[in-house]
């Protein structure tokens, strides 16, 4: 964890609306090394916006602002759009929630994976095809040839998400941002996809930002956890220390979860306090 891949300082995301500006992310700082960092929060906590703003993908009228977003020592904020396109998908990749919406329905899977590779590396068609087939095999697709030639609608959700992971990892990025990558999948499929992602990330020594609403899953999958509420980081801890979390919001989330092992008569409803929104964001840089 010594070498920091990404370091974000004082990030804000704002959306101007008719009734004033909404701050989706309010001045958060965090860093990611060659590790698995989980960002957890409920809907509207700003976790997805944080992921998108690393790649400067906030759409107008949204605005993002930060002191710095340093990736490998370079400030991404100083980059031009053209330079950013070289970063996106090549150095930093992103896997989105639902493969149904992230794959192009009118092109075959193989064509899309080859496109990703050929855009960022100088490889011939044959090399790209070979690379794509190897990558499909790496994400444990049993019949790479068939999947290579199929269209997205011919694949199940789990297969689609494996294809997405293959497409995102084929360029050998340094950092992978996974935004709810398995939420649309069944639990057992979810675990298989996570295991594949875990293995590839470890083998290649990549950093991983895992964005999810599932506290249980993140604590069992990641090394470090960042907990967000109303655009701020309320707490950060090692995944193994989550049960010792102190912030009332984190405690509330933990207590609201029904658990198979420990039956409870009533679940504890989370009592939100206005003061949480005013608190200063915790610095999650290591």
């Amino acid at each position: 964890m010594s070498d920091t891949l990404l370091s974000v300082e004082d990030l804000w995301v704002r959306f101007p609306t008719r009734s004033g500006t909404v701050d989706a992310v309010r001045g958060i700082s965090f860093s990611v090394g060659r590790e698995r960092v989980g960002i957890v929060g409920e809907s509207g906590s700003g976790k997805s916006m944080t992921g998108r703003s690393i790649l400067r993908l906030i759409r107008s009228p949204g605005q993002m602002e930060a002191k710095s977003i340093k990736f490998n020592g370079e400030n991404l904020l100083d980059y031009s759009e053209r330079q950013m396109r070289k970063i996106r998908g090549h150095q930093i990749s992103m896997v989105m929630q639902d493969p149904k919406f992230s794959l192009n329905p009118v092109h075959t899977v193989g064509k899309q994976i080859c496109e990703a590779l050929r855009l960022h590396t100088k490889s011939s068609r044959r090399e790209a095809r070979q690379g794509a087939l190897e990558m499909l095999e790496a994400v444990q697709i049993r019949n790479p040839e068939r999947v290579f030639n199929s269209y997205p609608h011919e694949l199940s959700g789990g297969m689609g998400q494996r294809v997405m992971i293959a497409m995102m990892l084929i360029t050998d990025p340094k950092l992978l941002i996974a935004d709810e990558p398995t939420s649309a999948l069944d639990v057992t499929v979810q675990m298989k996809v996570l295991a594949i992602m875990d293995k590839l990330v470890q083998e290649r020594g990549m950093g991983l930002i895992f964005i999810s609403h599932d506290l249980n899953l993140v604590s069992s999958f990641c090394d470090r956890i960042i907990i967000m509420y109303a655009g701020r980081i309320v707490e950060t801890c090692k995944a193994s220390e989550l049960h010792n979390a102190t912030h009332p919001y984190t405690r509330g989330l933990l207590n609201a979860l029904p658990r198979i092992e420990e039956p409870k008569g009533r679940l504890e409803a989370l009592q939100r306090q206005d003061s949480w929104k005013q608190e200063v964001s915790v610095d999650a840089r290591v």
Binding site: G157, D186, L217, L253, A256, P258, R259, I260, E261, P263
Partner: protein, 276 residues
């Protein structure tokens, strides 16, 4: 899996207790979709018995037919055969008003199941008008109160409500006709965990107050362990195992499939899932 099948047969507790009064009993239910060569059997020979005042859970992955069972029970799917008994009397394919007073359903997505241009008041009073109830005004207010929304919410539109509030309205609507059985189809999977806790508590309270019988479908084993006393596990349209909640907690399910489901819902385990 011939071995596990026989194990399931031995465990069926309701076969022996057939004399106990069942509120809802499903016998050899089959549901089909499509016609001719495209005909697909979504539910195969499902038999389930729900006791009076009980809370029965059906878990399984997408495509396992769990929601289809509920939809067949409440009459949203017509192409079924087998037997569905309510209080010992079989229901026909065409359902009448009396049936609607007995069984109501709460759907998964509160963003899709409420009419966007109807106020809460209209949503709640429509079933009352259809069934000729009196004191509509008082009933709507009491229902809102029951689900923890005040009278302030009465004339709001769905877009003025949060996800949790919408689901409360959907629950209130299901309760308007004072049903005895509630069918819950993934009622909390579109909600945040903290909101899920509130809605699950609401279900527990309402069950006590109104003496309701629940049949709940979900993919979340933790939710089902919290809510239900008896759980059926479905896979590929068949019930592979029925167990009581204690068996599930102590992680002693009989079939490999149920064990895998349980393991997966406990969180990520690199050793268990990494090898497969």
């Amino acid at each position: 899996m011939p071995g596990s099948d026989s194990a399931v047969m031995e465990r069926k507790p309701w076969v022996a207790e057939a004399t106990k009064d069942a509120r809802l009993e499903i016998k050899d239910l089959n549901v089909y979709f499509g016609e001719g060569p495209d005909r697909f059997q979504a539910v195969k020979n499902v038999s389930v018995k729900v006791q009076q005042g009980g809370s029965f859970g059906i878990v399984g992955e997408s495509g396992s037919g769990k929601s289809t069972v509920l939809r067949a029970v409440c009459g949203l799917v017509e192409s079924w055969d087998g037997e569905i008994d309510i209080d010992g009397a079989p229901v026909s394919h065409k359902r009448d008003k009396v049936f609607a007073r007995k069984i109501q359903m709460v759907f998964q997505d509160p963003y899709a199941s409420l009419h966007p241009r109807h106020t809460v008041d209209r949503v709640l009073s429509e079933p009352l008008k259809l069934h000729g109830f009196d004191d509509i005004d008082g009933r709507v207010l009491r229902a809102l109160d029951d689900v923890g929304l005040g009278a302030d919410f009465r004339f709001r539109y769905p877009h003025q409500l949060s996800g949790g509030q919408r689901q409360r309205v959907a629950v209130a609507r299901a309760l308007m006709l004072e049903p005895e059985i509630l069918l819950l189809d993934e009622p909390t999977s579109a909600l945040d965990v903290s909101v899920q806790a509130e809605i699950l508590n609401l279900f527990a309270d309402l069950r006590k107050e109104h003496n309701l019988t629940y049949v709940m479908v979900t993919h979340d084993l933790a939710v089902v362990a919290h809510m239900c006393d008896e759980i059926a596990v479905m896979q590929h349209g068949e019930v592979v195992e029925v167990m009581d909640v204690e068996a599930m907690r102590s992680s002693t399910p009989e079939t490999a499939y149920t064990q895998e489901l349980l393991k997966a819902s406990m969180g990520y385990d690199a050793e268990f899932f990494g090898d497969s």
